[in-house]
Symmetry: C2
Amino acid sequence: MTTASTAPVFAALGDPHRQQLIMMLARGGAASASSLAPSLPVSRQAVDRHLRVLTGAGLLERRRSGRQVLYSVRRAELDRSADWLRELADGWDKRLSAIKESAEGTGQAPALEKNPTDK
Amino acid sequence: MTTASTAPVFAALGDPHRQQLIMMLARGGAASASSLAPSLPVSRQAVDRHLRVLTGAGLLERRRSGRQVLYSVRRAELDRSADWLRELADGWDKRLSAIKESAEGTGQAPALEKNPTDK
DNA sequence: TTGATCTGCAATGAAAGTGTTGCACTTTGC
DNA sequence: GCAAAGTGCAACACTTTCATTGCAGATCAA
């Protein structure tokens, strides 16, 4: 399964400035740190560091174009993380269904209160 | 639109231990910090703090049951974050389509290189 | 009431993240 | 070559996060 490999992606998306940057890139197309910086209340260097964090998480792509470096969105990684969330939610849904069924069968409160890890 | 309100959720999901905890809760049902702690290589207090972070992000629900406190998954918040990701990916897709269309019309490389924020 | 179990909270320290400034380097156009 | 524009990187301060230990308080069963 998709274990903890999505953690860096979520960590990267966990910063408001980085969210803003990736939204700007998704809507406006590829852009450089210098061109994005004026839209944020931080320095050009700080923006570049954020973009590198996003790139490191696999969410962005870097490529050189003349004297500037352009960042653009990598959709695959977005999809992967969305899938992880969906699987998590579905797992929880199955759990709820199983509990409901069990409750209907026995007529009493199910194993929700039970510890999954007794030692 | 869903702006930066999902940032705390992603930040909460950005830690491997917290991912592990929420997966355990989704699969095993509600549980307390004490019962979850033996499955992780950290102390009971550390686990409780992680669970509180997840709760603060809206991902978990706390309720008292006798002498223990049980945490369980709140599906709504998972869905909200998954939606945010999907919108982001879709936005990028639309952008790509527009570029492709523009390229077909003019017969040359489109605005991918252009800065969206000129100042 | 007593003892065992579980939670709540404070203090502490190590580590990582965020943002800044300053400067060097590369590329481009004249 | 020279200047302008853009990127790369290092040092620094500040804040936050992660995890620990220790102890107090609450709850339950006998």
